[in-house]
C-alpha cells in the first residue's frame, strides 16, 4: 500500500507538484492520469525516493520514505521513465545485475528471472546483448529487472509508451495479473482509454494538483458525463496533452 500525503516539489519558480495526496491500495490498480507536464513523473520520483519532497510525506507499507529510503526501495518495483539497459550485457545479465543489487540470492534470483522471462515472453531474446533491442524488448527487460525481487508494490511510469498494439495489450494483461497476485499497482498515463479500462481507482493530476480521486464510475457520475473522455475534459479544463 502506498500513501501519499500533501506532496510538494518546486524547481526554482516552477511548482511541479503542489499538494498531491492519494492512496494506492493492495490488490488494486491505481491510475495516475494527467496531461504531459502535469507532475506525474515528479510525483513518482518522490515515491521511489529519487527526489526528496519539499513538503509532505510518502508511506510505503507504513514505512516513511523520508526516514528509511532503502527499506522503501526494497518494497518497490519501479519501471521509471528512464529505461536504459546495459547494451554490452544480455537481457538475462541485465536482470541478474539488479537481482544482486536487490540482495536476492542466486538460486531465488534465477528462479524468479526464468518465471519473468516466461511470463513476459522474452525467451527469444533473453540471451542476446541489449544493443539493438526493440522498444518492446527494452521495456520487457526493464520490467523484468524491476520485479526481480518480487516487490509488493509496483510503480510503472507510462508503461505502454512506445509499444505497439500487441505489446500494449500484453502489458495491460500483465498489470491485471499483478493485481490478481494481490499487489499494489500504481501507474501513470496520459492515455484516457487505458486508464478507464484498467483502473480500480483514478487519480487525476493537473498543474501539480489532484483534481479528482475516484473510481471510473464515480468519476462519470460526479461530472454528469456518461463518456469518460468528456468527464476528463471537464475536470482538467481542457484536453490538451491528453491522448484518447
Amino acid at each position: 500500500m502506498i500513501q501519499v500525503d500533501n506532496l510538494h516539489k518546486a524547481f526554482g519558480e516552477i511548482r511541479a507538484v503542489d499538494g498531491v495526496s492519494f492512496t494506492a491500495r493492495d490488490g488494486e490498480i491505481t491510475g495516475l492520469l494527467g496531461p504531459n507536464g502535469a507532475g506525474k513523473t515528479t510525483t513518482l520520483r518522490m515515491l521511489y525516493t529519487l527526489m526528496r519532497p519539499d513538503a509532505g510525506r510518502v508511506l510505503v507499507d507504513g514505512i516513511d520514505a523520508g526516514a528509511d529510503p532503502l527499506a522503501v526501495r526494497k518494497r518497490l518495483g519501479v519501471l521509471p521513465d528512464a529505461r536504459g539497459l546495459y547494451k554490452h550485457l544480455t537481457a538475462r545479465e541485465n536482470i541478474d545485475y539488479f537481482a544482486k543489487l536487490q540482495g536476492v540470492s542466486a538460486v531465488e534470483g534465477a528462479r524468479r528471472r526464468e518465471t519473468l522471462v516466461k511470463v513476459l515472453e522474452m525467451g527469444d531474446f533473453a540471451d542476446r546483448r541489449a544493443e539493438g533491442f526493440s522498444q518492446g524488448q527494452r521495456v520487457k527487460t526493464a520490467i523484468a529487472r524491476a520485479l526481480i525481487h518480487d516487490p509488493k508494490n509496483v510503480l510503472l511510469d507510462e508503461p505502454t509508451n512506445g509499444l505497439d498494439v500487441m505489446a500494449t495489450r500484453r502489458m495491460r494483461q500483465f498489470m491485471r495479473d499483478l493485481r490478481a497476485e494481490g499487489r499494489c499497482v500504481l501507474f501513470s498515463s496520459h492515455i484516457m482509454q487505458e486508464v478507464a479500462q484498467l483502473c480500480d481507482r483514478i487519480v487525476v493530476i493537473a498543474k501539480g494538483r489532484v483534481v479528482a480521486d475516484e473510481s471510473p464510475d464515480a468519476l462519470r457520475e460526479h461530472t454528469g458525463e456518461s463518456n469518460l473522455e468528456d468527464a476528463f475534459m471537464k475536470i482538467i479544463g481542457s484536453g490538451e496533452g491528453l491522448a484518447a
Partner: protein, 391 residues
C-alpha cells in the same frame, strides 16, 4: 556479496566487452607515451650526433688571404665552401649555419705580429646552429692560442707566460644525470597514461549512463549511492592501473631502443625503476579516477564531459614544463604535493639520485589524503538529486 563489489564486477565485465574502452586503456593510453618518447629522443640524439661528427660546411670569404687558417679548418673537420655573395642574408635565410670572412689585411697583420681579424657571421637566436657555431669559435680560439704559443717560443719565452690561470674542469654529472636532464618530460607520460586509461570509463560510468537513461533505474535499487560510486571508481582504477602497468613495462623495453650511450648518457629504465614508478603513482590513480568521475558528474552530457576532461589532461603537464623551464632544487615539501611529488620523485630515480623511504611515504600519504578528499567531494555530488535525472 558487498554491493560495491557487485557494481565493480559488473562494470569491469561490461567494459571488457567494449572495444573502444579496451583500446584506450590497453593500447593507446599506455603505448602513446613510450612511442612518442622513443621517437623524439631518437630524432634529438641522431641530430646531435650528426652535428658533432659530420664535416661542417662553412663558406669562407677571402680564403686566399689566410691559406694556413683554411688548411687548419679542414684538418679540424670543417669543409670550407666557396664564398657566398652576402654573408648576412645567407645566415638570416638559414642557408648556412655560419660564414667566416677573412679580410684582405689579414696576411699583413699576421706577418707583422699584430692581431689579425676574422669575422664570424651567425644568428644566435637559431637554436639549431648553436653547436656548429660554438665548434667554429672554439676552433678559432685554439688556433689563436696555439700560434701565440709558437710565437712566444720563437722569441725564447715560455708559453706558460701567456696562461696565468689554468682552468681544469671537473664535471660532476654522471652519464645518468645528463640523461635525466634531457628526459624530464618522462614523468608526464606516466600521468598521461593513467589519465587516458581511465578516461573513457569515467565518462561512460556516469555521464554515459545518465545519457543512456540507465542511471535512474540503477539508483532505484536499495543501495546507498556512495557504495555504487565506490564500485565504479574501483573499476576505473583497475583500467587505469592496467594502463600504467603496460606503460611502465613498455618504457622498460623502450629504454633498450634509445641510443643514449652514444651521447655518453645512461637511462635508469630498469625493472626496479618501473616498480618504483608504480608505487609512486598509486595515489594518482585513485585521485585521477575520482576527479574524472567528479567532472563527468557535473557535465550535462557525454560530449561535455569529454571536452572538460580533454582540457583537464593539460593540467598535469604543468609541473613537467615548469621544472624543465626553471630547474629548481628538489625540496622536501615537493613530495607532499600530488603530481609535483611524482614528477620530482620519478625524475630523481631516473637520474640515479636517491629517494628515501620517508620521501616515498610522504608522497603516498599526501597523495592518498588528497585522493580521499576528492572522493568525498565526488560522493557528495553523487548523492545530489539532479545527478540521476536525464533530461
Amino acid at each position: 556479496m558487498n554491493t560495491s563489489l557487485i557494481v565493480f564486477l559488473k562494470e569491469v565485465r561490461e567494459n571488457l566487452r567494449d572495444k573502444r574502452t579496451l583500446i584506450n586503456a590497453l593500447l593507446t593510453g599506455p603505448l602513446i607515451g613510450p612511442l612518442m618518447f622513443v621517437m623524439i629522443v631518437n630524432v634529438v640524439i641522431s641530430r646531435q650526433l650528426n652535428q658533432a661528427e659530420a664535416p661542417l660546411r662553412l663558406p669562407v670569404i677571402g680564403a686566399s688571404n689566410a691559406p694556413h687558417l683554411v688548411e687548419a679548418l679542414r684538418q679540424q673537420g670543417f669543409d670550407p665552401q666557396p664564398p657566398v655573395a652576402d654573408p648576412i642574408t645567407a645566415v638570416r635565410n638559414r642557408d648556412v649555419a655560419a660564414v667566416l670572412r677573412i679580410p684582405a689585411g689579414f696576411g699583413e697583420s699576421w706577418s707583422n705580429g699584430d692581431p689579425a681579424q676574422v669575422e664570424v657571421y651567425y644568428d644566435s637566436s637559431r637554436r639549431d646552429t648553436q653547436q656548429p657555431v660554438s665548434r667554429l669559435k672554439a676552433m678559432l680560439e685554439s688556433y689563436s692560442r696555439l700560434n701565440g704559443a709558437l710565437r712566444l717560443v720563437a722569441r725564447g719565452l715560455s708559453p706558460a707566460l701567456a696562461n696565468p690561470v689554468l682552468v681544469d674542469e671537473r664535471d660532476q654529472s654522471t652519464p645518468r644525470s645528463r640523461a635525466g636532464a634531457l628526459f624530464s618530460i618522462l614523468p608526464y607520460f606516466f600521468v598521461l597514461t593513467v589519465f587516458i586509461g581511465g578516461m573513457y570509463l569515467a565518462i561512460d560510468l556516469t555521464a554515459g549512463e545518465r545519457e543512456r537513461h540507465s542511471l535512474e533505474p540503477l539508483f532505484i535499487n536499495p543501495v546507498a549511492r556512495w557504495r555504487i560510486l565506490l564500485g565504479k571508481i574501483g573499476a576505473i582504477c583497475v583500467f587505469s592501473l592496467s594502463s600504467l602497468l603496460i606503460c611502465a613495462i613498455a618504457f622498460t623495453v623502450a629504454g633498450r631502443f634509445i641510443p643514449t650511450e652514444k651521447l655518453g648518457m645512461d637511462l635508469g629504465l630498469g625493472p626496479a625503476f618501473a616498480l618504483s614508478v608504480l608505487v609512486l603513482m598509486l595515489p594518482l590513480v585513485l585521485l585521477i579516477a575520482a576527479l574524472q568521475t567528479l567532472v563527468a558528474a557535473f557535465s550535462k552530457s557525454y560530449r561535455e564531459a569529454q571536452t572538460y576532461l580533454g582540457l583537464l589532461m593539460l593540467v598535469p603537464v604543468l609541473p613537467s614544463v615548469l621544472l624543465s623551464v626553471m630547474p629548481v632544487r628538489t625540496a622536501a615539501w615537493m613530495y607532499a604535493v600530488p603530481l609535483l611529488g611524482q614528477q620530482v620523485g620519478i625524475t630523481e630515480l631516473l637520474i640515479g639520485g636517491s629517494v628515501t623511504a620517508a620521501q616515498v611515504g610522504m608522497c603516498l600519504f599526501c597523495g592518498f589524503a588528497v585522493a580521499a578528499l576528492m572522493l568525498a567531494v565526488t560522493a557528495r555530488v553523487y548523492g545530489s538529486e539532479r545527478l540521476a535525472i536525464s533530461v
